[in-house]
Amino acid sequence: MARFIVRRTLGMIAVLFAISVIVFLIFNVIPNSDPAARIAGKNANPALIARVTTDLGLDQPLPVQYLTMMKQIFTGELTSYASSQNVVEQIWKGLPATFSLCVGAAVLWMTLAVVFGYLSAVHAGKFTDRALTVLSLVGISMPVFWLAAILLYYLSFKAQLFPTSSYVPLTKDPANWAYHLILPWITLAVLFVGFYSRVLRSNMLDVMNEDYVRTARAKGLGERQIRIKHVLRNSMIPVITLFGLDFGAVVGGGAILTETVFNLNGVGLYAGQAIGSLDLPPLIGVTMFGAFFIVLFNTIVDVLYAFLDPRIRLGTAAPA
């Protein structure tokens, strides 16, 4: 097991390194987005621009600039060119909002997905199953930001049931915290509820025909106990794998849209702004933050896979 973890961490570092290089190159290739010119202000003369360039070390060769930037990330000094705010600090400040959104949405979509998937599998073919299938398919087909706009317009504005967008810290006012996050949770969760419930449904239908389910019945277990302890338990393995990958992707950047529309000042919103203003330091910071989570959760999923399904021995090639 330890060997496996070491191998995967090395893989993770390699991937993160590759991503940091890619982002660095993408943004250094943009024509005339030279940060020095921008900082020097509107009617700066060449002398002032030259001074700003040397101060920011932008006249160094690219590799040197890249190394200094990487050093700044790990020492937490990375500051944005546009607004001179410390990037690491801003990301740190955005964490509560992003995590509240992602974790809350994850809990919502996993519970609903399991309930919907279980119901439509148990009542396969009947009305409940068909209704839930249609609902899931519609759920998969909706653009996240559009759903957010519609929910905000009808529920928050017209019906005034929910407050407007913006994040209320959990520590200050838990009730308000949840109240402000209900719509964002729903928006983020709808897509995954649709997808996961259908994956769970087809898995459960497969598992129901397995021999060990018949054995369980022959052991005199109750139908409900069989469905939950045996059928659901085994069908959840692929769903949990998917969850690991998707949760990483959502925390890593997928939440940009939801945070932007609901104006939750989390890492996603900060990422959106960083790109809007083509500001390299925050962008590298945010992308590394995102990629770290995606790769981290990929590894967690592989390790978790072994616990979920004892047949998988760690150290062999991770499941494709």
Binding site: T215, A218, G220, G222, K229, P310
Partner: protein, 334 residues
């Protein structure tokens, strides 16, 4: 009488039409007796066995007839009542041990689960009982192996676990649905020894479903031969092997490779295919493949004193003799 099946019929409604898997099957199982049900695949023997424990109940199934056990008709019990029988009074083991155990739970836990489903015992007690059971079926150092997962056992060992699980609540009847088919010969023998020991020591009545006459010869007290959903012969072991009454049985015996005789050029086999169960032929179902069929066979023969065939006893004994062995000779231009 421990268990008696009376006129059991099982029909499945499928897209292609209604499949008459089991058609008017009746047999009895005495306490401590080992009854073998033998037949080709698709003859309905597994369906019959599973229907006894109500495992074939499904929206598209219609089950008629009765399964009398301990004064109750199991076919009429609802799911709740049936659960008190399953595992407690009648236990079952299946053909493929590789897939019959849940891969993600430890073996001990699966056994304990069954015990706690029927007895109000603590987890610890159930676990200890599981260890005893594993020992009783001959699994080495059971204290450690109880914590192993199914994929950490060989086929034979896993079948032993299944048996251990079946014995957990000291049932009266064990239904074994082709328990040795998926195992290689040496392991097969061990499993059969184990079943015989359990039958002898505990008086456990066993219904052994198999298509292997070798297994039948080794363990069975009585044998029922099934063909196309019907029992065509019901006899004691001796009379089946030495005084078989039904041509199909002759065909089965004839196609056995014999050590005590010169190797034939080609093994004899029964011509033709088992009939479609969607539109079963009227009259004797074996008639299309029976070289001795005659007009009477157009009428469906009843099962009386152990045999479902219109030939009289004398004709049977004469026609079954093929070159000094029991066999089903190709129709001679008689």
């Amino acid at each position: 009488m421990m268990l008696s099946v009376e006129n059991l019929s099982v029909r499945f409604a499928t897209d292609g039409g209604t499949v008459h898997a089991v058609d008017d099957v009746s047999f009895e199982l005495a306490a401590g007796e080992i009854l073998a049900i033998v037949g080709e695949s698709g003859s309905g023997k597994s369906v019959t066995a599973q229907t006894v424990l109500g495992l074939t109940r499904a929206p598209n199934t219609t089950i008629t007839g009765a399964v009398r056990f301990d004064g109750q008709d199991l076919t009429q019990l609802n799911d709740r009542q049936l659960r008190d029988i399953r595992g407690e009074r009648i236990a079952m083991i299946f053909q493929d041990p590789m897939t019959s155990l849940n891969p993600v739970y430890r073996v001990g836990a699966q056994i304990a689960e069954m015990i706690r489903a029927h007895r109000d015992v603590s987890k610890g007690e159930a676990r200890d009982r599981a260890v005893e059971l594993l020992a009783s079926v001959g699994i080495p150092n059971p204290e450690r192996r109880v914590r192993s997962y199914p994929h950490e056992f060989s086929g034979g060992m896993r079948q032993r676990v299944m048996i251990a699980m079946a014995l957990a609540l000291d049932p009266d009847v064990l239904i074994a649905d082709e328990p040795t088919t998926a195992l290689d010969v040496t392991v097969q023998a061990q499993i059969l020894r184990l079943l015989e020991k359990l039958n002898a020591e505990r008086g456990l009545a066993v219904v052994m479903i198999t298509h292997d006459l070798g297994v039948v010869a080794e363990v069975a007290d009585r044998v029922a031969v099934m063909y196309a959903g019907q029992i065509v012969e019901d006899a004691t072991l001796e009379s089946l092997f030495y005084d078989p009454k039904h041509p199909y049985t002759w065909g089965l015996l004839g196609s056995l490779a014999r050590l005590d005789q010169p190797r034939p050029v080609r093994l004899a086999q029964i011509a033709g295919q088992p009939p479609s169960l969607i539109a079963p032929p009227s009259g004797c179902r074996f008639a299309p493949r029976c070289p001795h069929a005659f007009e009477k066979c157009a009428e469906p023969p009843p099962l009386h004193d152990g045999d479902r065939c219109w030939l009289d006893l004398e004709q049977k004994r004469r026609l079954r003799d093929v070159d000094g062995r029991i066999g089903l000779r190709r129709a001679v231009a008689t």
